[in-house]
C-alpha cells in the first residue's frame, strides 16, 4: 500500500474519539507533513443530487452597518464571548466580522465590510491542513471539522482574508447562559480553529426537509438561509446557488458593481460584494 494511502487510512478514525496515542501521533506528524493528504472520507462516493455552488452576495450599498449579521451569527453558532481582557484582544472568535477600512485617499471616508468566510473555490487553507480537518464540500462549502483539528493554526496563516479564529480557551458559559445555545451547532473546545460555515447545518436541514417532499430546495428558500442573511434588516445579504443561472445570487454576482476580495490571488472566493455607490 502506498505511503499516502497508509497515511490517510491512519487519519480516518475508526471511533468517534481518536485515542490519546493517536492524537499524539497526529500532533507529531504535523511537523513532518509536506503536503496535506486529502482524507479518504472527503473523496468518497456521494449520493446523486443536484450539485450546487453555495455562494453569497453582500450589497455594500444596502448595508447600513448595523452589525445585526454579526450578532445573529454569534447567536446561531454558539460563538463564545470573552470579556475585554486585553490578553484576548483581537483574538476573540468571530465568524462574521465587521471591518472598518480606512480610506485610501485623502478626504475619503471609511467603509464597512461584513466579512464571512469566503468559501474559496480554490482555498489555500485546505491545502495546508495536516490532518484533513478542513476540506471542500462538493457543494462548495469549505468545511471545518472541529473534532479533527489539532490546533496547529497553519490554516489561519494560509488564509489571506484572516477569516479563521482560534479558541485560545475553553468556552465558559454559566449554567444559565448555556441554555440559550443552539442545539444544532456543537461548541468548540480549546485548541480548535473555527470559522464561518455558511450555516451549513441550516442548509443540510433545508435539504432534508425538501427531500422528504421529494424535491430540491427552491432559490427563494435559500436567499435568507444563513443566520446573517435572515437577520439583515436591509436585505443586503443574499445566499444561494451560484451555479444556478436563475438564482438571485448569480444574478447579483453578474452585476457591474460586483467584485471579490483579493481576486488576484486566485482563491476564487464564493462571496461577492456589490460596491457602494456614493451617488
Amino acid at each position: 500500500m502506498s505511503l499516502v494511502r497508509w497515511f490517510t487510512k491512519l487519519l480516518a478514525p475508526e471511533s468517534p474519539e481518536p485515542s490519546p496515542a493517536r492524537r499524539e501521533f497526529l500532533r507529531a506528524s504535523a511537523a513532518l507533513t509536506v503536503a496535506a493528504a486529502i482524507p479518504a472520507a472527503a473523496a468518497a462516493a456521494t449520493r446523486p443530487h443536484r450539485r450546487r455552488h453555495w455562494g453569497m452576495v453582500i450589497d455594500l450599498d444596502r448595508c447600513s452597518g448595523c452589525n445585526a449579521c454579526s450578532v445573529a451569527c454569534r447567536q446561531e453558532n454558539n460563538i463564545p464571548t470573552y470579556d475585554a481582557d486585553p490578553k484576548f484582544a483581537g483574538a476573540r472568535p468571530e465568524w462574521m466580522s465587521m471591518l472598518w477600512q480606512e480610506p485610501q485617499r485623502e478626504g475619503g471616508l471609511p467603509a464597512l465590510l461584513p466579512l464571512p468566510c469566503m468559501h474559496c473555490a480554490d482555498p489555500p487553507c485546505t491545502k495546508v491542513c495536516p490532518v484533513g480537518a478542513t476540506y471542500k464540500d462538493p457543494d462548495g462549502i469549505t468545511m471545518q471539522v472541529w473534532d479533527r483539528c489539532i490546533g496547529c493554526r497553519y490554516c489561519m496563516v494560509a488564509c489571506p482574508y484572516s477569516r479563521r479564529s482560534f479558541n485560545w480557551t475553553d468556552p465558559a458559559w454559566s449554567p444559565s447562559e448555556v441554555q440559550m445555545l443552539n442545539p444544532d451547532v456543537a461548541t468548540r473546545p480549546r485548541g480548535v480553529v473555527e470559522k464561518c460555515t455558511f450555516c451549513h447545518h441550516r442548509i443540510r436541514k433545508l435539504g432534508e426537509e425538501a427531500a422528504l417532499q421529494g424535491r430540491e430546495p427552491t432559490d427563494a428558500e435559500c436567499q435568507r438561509l444563513p443566520a446573517c442573511a435572515a437577520a439583515c434588516p436591509a436585505s443586503a445579504i443574499t445566499f444561494g446557488d451560484l451555479d444556478d443561472p436563475e438564482s438571485r445570487v448569480s444574478e447579483l454576482a453578474r452585476s457591474p458593481r460586483a467584485m471579490r476580495l483579493l481576486e488576484h490571488l486566485g482563491t476564487e472566493p464564493s462571496v461577492y460584494y456589490l460596491e457602494k455607490d456614493r451617488g
Binding site: 452597518g65 448595523c66 450578532v71 484582544a89 471591518l99 444544532d184 436585505s235
Partner: protein
C-alpha cells in the same frame, strides 16, 4: 495590483488590531487550565444528546429591547429559547432584526438576574416571599393613602404601553400626581415640538418610502433612535430599489452610522443643526420657492420670516462650521427632490436648544411641502382602534391628592412638560416622598448626576424596584425588589414607537415558562389594587392583567378591518396571539393640520467657563445601547459601529488638533467638567468636529451583572442638572469639559 495588497494589509491590520484598550477591569477570567494539556472538553450542546421528545416550537412575539417593538419569532427547544429572528410578516421590521433584538436571549438567561423578591437588610438584600413582600407594600400603601397619598412617587421607564398605563391608572386612583416618565429618551421634547407646531402631541411618523431625500439634522438614525431596523430597511430601499436613487443627507459632528450611510455628510458643530435648517428655510423663503399651502396660512409667519432672514449662508457657516456655498445649493437640491423627510429626533434634542431645533425642522418640512404629504415626509403617527379602559371613578382622597403640586414642576416651571426627571433629585431631597416605585428605571446610573439620585432616593423611606436585574438603584437604595419577568416571559402589548405609517398593534407573549420566581409587574399592580380595596380595586375590575389587555385589543376586533378580521372575539384573539400582531389594511391617510411657526432659535448653551473648559461634551448612545438596559448582554459589546472604536471600548473621541499635545491613541486621559471627572482611554478621531469630545453612554456600571460591572466609565457623572427649559427634557449634551493626560 497594489490596491489589493493594500487591502490585504488593511484587512489584516484591521482584524488583528481591533481594539483600543479601554480603561476597565476584566470581569471574566478564563477557566483554570494547564496550558500544556490538551483540552478534554468535547464538543457539546445542551440537549443535543437527550432526544426523547426533542420538542421544538416557534413562538411569535414582539421584541421589547427598544421602543420599536419589532415582530420576532423565537425558536424554543425543550423549553429553552435558543434563537430569536425577525418575523417576516410584521410590517414594522419585515423579517429584519437589530442587534438588540438578537441579544434578548442574553437578557432572559442573564446569570445574575434577580431570582426572587428581595428586601433590604442593612447593606444586603435578602430573599423574601411574594406574600410577605406584597403584604408589606400593600400595608404601607394603605397607610400612606390615609395620610398623604401624594407622597407616592412612581417612575415608569416606559412611555407608552399597557403596563405604563396601568401604573398611571394606579397613581390616579391612589391620589398622587407624581407619576413620572422615567424614560431616558427625549421623545417628550419631540412630542412637545409637534404639539406646538402642529397641534398633535406625539412623536411623528415618517413617510420615507417615496421621499426623494432624507435630511437628518443630527439624528441618531441607526444608533440610538431605536428605529435602526426601520431605517436600515428604508435607506437600503431608497438607494437601490427606486428608479431614481433617493439621497440621505446627514448633518452631524461625528462620523457615526448615520454619517456612514449618508450620501452626503455635512460636518457641523454639535447642536447647530437648527442653524443649518434655518439657513435652508431662509433660502427657500428668499427665493420664494416653497410650498405655500401650509406655510402661507401658518401662525407666526412674519416672525418666522424675520428669524430666518438672519440666517444668511455666511451666518450659518459661522455657526455650524460648514461651507457657506452649500446652504443654497442644498436648499435647491431638497426643493427639487421633494417631498423630503426632515428628521430631528431624540439625539437632535439632546442640546438645550433641542425644542427650537425640532420646531425649525418641522417648519423646513412645511416649506418643502412635506407635512402630511402622501408621497412622503413628516406625518402624524397613525393610531390603532384599540379600546380605552373606562375612566376610573375617583374618590375625594384621590381628588385631593391629585390637586397637590407635582414634585417635578411639570406643568408649572416647565409649562410644556408632562413629566420632568432632571429636577427630581433636588425636589426629593427637599420633600422626600414616603414611597417610590421604580419600573424600568435605574436613575442611580442612567441619569445625569447619579450620585445626587442616590442621595435623593436614600432619603425615601420605602423604595421599591421592579427590576429583573440587580442594577445600581437596586443595589444602592432599594428596600424591596419585586422582580418583573423579562420580556420573553410576559404577556403584554407591544405598542411601537411611531415611525411607520402603518398602524400596528403587537402582542408580546411568554416564550418560555418564567425561569425564576418573578411576577409580571402588571399582575403585581392588580394585586396591590385589590389589596387596597375600594375605590381603587373598582378601577381594576380584572382578575388578571390578560383580561385587562384583551379588553383593549377587542377594539381591534370591533373595527373589523386590518390583517385579522373574525366574527367572534375569541377567534380574533386566538389569531392575534398566534400571529403576534394586528396591522391596518393600508398606510394612514394624511390628515389636515394647522401649522404654527417657531419664532426663536439659539445656539446650544453649555455649562462651565470656556476658559477653563474649552471643549464641549457630546455624550451619545452608541449602537446597541438604546435605553441603556443592554449592558448585561455581552453581544452588545462586541459591536463595531464606528471606525477606530473597536468592540468592548469606552473611549473619549477627540480631534487630534484638540487633544493634549503628545497624546497617542489609547492613552489614558482625564476628562473633567464642572460637575465631575473621569479617567478613560482617548481615541484620536480625524473626523470628529473641532472643539468637542464624544463619549458613549453605557459604561461604568457598578452593578447589573458580571458582563456590565467594572467596564468603562459612566459619562453621566460629567453632566450637571441638565434640563431643557420649557419641556423639562433631560439633556445629555450640555456641559463643557477639558481633557488632560494622566500619567
Amino acid at each position: 495590483m497594489s490596491t489589493n495588497d493594500q487591502t490585504r494589509r488593511t484587512i489584516l491590520a484591521g482584524l488583528g488590531a481591533a481594539l483600543v484598550p479601554a480603561c476597565r477591569r476584566a470581569s471574566w477570567s478564563p477557566p483554570e487550565q494547564d496550558p500544556t494539556a490538551r483540552s478534554q472538553v468535547k464538543p457539546y450542546v445542551p440537549g443535543a444528546e437527550s432526544y426523547a421528545t426533542y420538542e421544538e416550537r416557534w413562538v411569535t412575539s414582539s421584541c421589547a429591547q427598544c421602543p420599536a417593538a419589532c415582530g420576532i419569532r423565537v425558536r424554543v427547544v425543550e423549553g429553552r429559547a435558543v434563537r430569536i429572528e425577525g418575523n417576516l410578516e410584521n410590517p414594522i421590521n419585515r423579517g429584519g432584526i437589530g442587534v438588540r433584538g438578537l441579544s434578548g436571549l442574553q437578557a432572559l438567561y442573564d446569570p445574575d438576574r434577580v431570582t426572587q423578591p428581595l428586601r433590604r437588610d442593612g447593606e444586603r438584600l435578602v430573599p423574601v416571599s411574594w406574600d410577605d413582600a406584597l403584604s408589606t407594600l400593600g400595608a404601607a400603601l394603605a397607610k400612606l393613602r390615609e395620610q398623604a397619598p401624594e407622597q407616592l412617587l412612581v417612575m415608569s421607564g416606559l412611555e407608552r404601553g399597557f403596563s405604563h398605563e396601568l401604573l398611571a391608572r394606579f397613581c390616579r386612583t391612589f391620589g398622587t400626581p407624581n407619576f413620572v416618565d422615567g424614560s431616558p429618551s427625549h421623545t417628550a421634547a419631540l412630542a412637545r415640538a409637534m404639539e406646538l407646531s402642529l397641534g398633535v402631541r406625539d412623536v411623528p411618523a415618517y413617510g420615507a418610502e417615496n421621499a426623494g431625500a432624507i435630511l437628518s439634522l443630527e439624528a441618531g438614525l441607526f444608533e440610538d433612535a431605536c428605529r435602526s431596523t426601520y431605517f436600515a430597511r428604508v435607506t437600503a430601499s431608497m438607494r437601490r430599489d427606486r428608479s431614481r436613487r433617493a439621497r440621505l443627507i446627514h448633518a452631524g459632528p461625528t462620523f457615526d452610522l448615520a454619517a456612514y450611510n449618508a450620501d452626503r455628510w455635512l460636518h457641523i458643530k454639535p447642536g447647530t443643526a437648527g442653524a443649518l435648517a434655518l439657513g435652508l428655510c431662509n433660502a427657500l423663503l428668499r427665493d420664494r420657492t416653497y410650498a405655500h399651502e401650509l406655510v402661507d396660512r401658518a401662525r407666526g409667519l412674519a416672525e418666522f420670516r424675520a428669524l430666518a432672514a438672519a440666517y444668511t449662508p455666511e451666518r450659518v457657516a459661522a455657526i455650524t462650521g460648514c461651507d457657506a456655498a452649500l446652504v443654497d445649493e442644498l436648499a435647491r437640491e431638497l426643493w427639487e427632490r421633494r417631498p423630503v423627510l426632515v428628521i430631528a429626533d431624540e439625539r437632535s434634542l439632546a442640546f438645550s436648544n433641542g425644542l427650537d431645533t425640532a420646531r425649525v425642522a418641522i417648519a423646513l418640512s412645511a416649506l418643502l411641502g412635506s407635512i402630511e404629504n402622501p408621497l412622503g415626509g413628516l406625518r402624524i403617527a397613525p393610531t390603532t382602534p384599540m379600546r380605552a379602559w373606562e375612566e376610573p371613578a375617583l374618590d375625594d382622597v384621590a381628588r385631593r391628592g391629585l390637586a397637590t403640586a407635582r414634585l417635578d414642576g411639570a406643568g408649572r416651571e416647565f409649562a410644556g412638560a408632562r413629566s420632568v426627571q432632571g429636577t427630581l433629585p433636588d425636589a426629593i431631597v427637599a420633600a422626600p416622598p414616603a414611597i417610590a416605585l421604580l419600573h424600568h428605571a435605574n436613575p442611580v446610573f442612567a441619569r445625569a448626576q447619579p450620585e445626587r439620585w442616590r442621595d435623593a432616593l436614600a432619603a425615601v423611606p420605602l423604595v421599591v424596584s421592579f427590576s429583573p436585574f440587580v442594577d445600581e438603584t437596586v443595589l444602592a437604595v432599594a428596600d424591596l425588589v419585586l422582580p418583573d419577568h423579562t420580556y420573553l416571559e410576559r404577556l403584554e402589548d407591544a405598542t411601537p414607537l411611531p415611525g411607520s405609517l402603518r398602524a400596528v398593534a403587537g402582542v408580546r407573549k411568554p416564550v418560555v415558562t418564567p425561569l425564576h420566581d418573578t411576577r409580571a409587574t402588571t399582575e403585581v399592580v392588580l394585586d396591590l389594587a385589590h389589596r387596597l380595596g375600594e375605590p381603587i380595586a373598582g378601577a381594576f375590575p380584572w382578575r388578571t392583567s390578560r383580561d385587562a389587555f384583551e379588553e383593549r385589543w377587542l377594539g381591534l376586533h370591533a373595527a373589523a378591518r386590518g390583517t385579522i378580521v373574525e366574527t367572534s372575539p375569541r377567534a380574533f384573539l386566538d389569531r392575534f396571539y398566534a400571529q403576534g400582531f394586528w396591522a391596518d389594511d393600508a398606510d394612514a391617510a394624511p390628515v389636515p393640520v394647522e401649522l404654527a411657526l417657531p419664532t426663536t432659535w439659539s445656539e446650544p448653551r453649555w455649562d462651565g467657563d470656556a476658559s477653563r473648559f474649552p471643549l464641549v461634551l457630546v455624550a451619545y448612545h452608541p449602537l446597541g445601547h438604546g435605553d441603556g438596559s443592554g449592558a448585561n448582554q455581552p453581544w452588545l459589546r462586541n459591536l463595531q459601529a464606528r471606525p477606530g472604536l473597536g468592540a468592548w471600548t469606552i473611549a473619549a473621541s477627540i480631534s487630534p488638533h484638540d487633544a493634549p499635545p503628545g497624546v497617542h491613541d489609547g492613552d489614558r486621559v482625564r476628562v473633567a467638567s464642572p460637575h465631575g471627572s473621569l479617567v478613560l482611554a482617548v481615541h484620536l478621531d480625524p473626523r470628529i468636529a473641532r472643539g468637542c469630545v464624544a463619549i458613549p453612554t453605557g459604561g461604568g456600571h457598578a452593578a447589573y451583572g458580571r458582563w456590565a460591572r467594572g467596564f468603562g466609565v459612566n459619562v453621566m457623572e460629567l453632566l450637571g442638572p441638565a434640563v431643557a427649559p420649557e419641556t423639562g427634557a433631560s439633556l445629555s449634551c450640555t456641559t463643557r469639559v477639558r481633557m488632560e493626560v494622566v500619567g
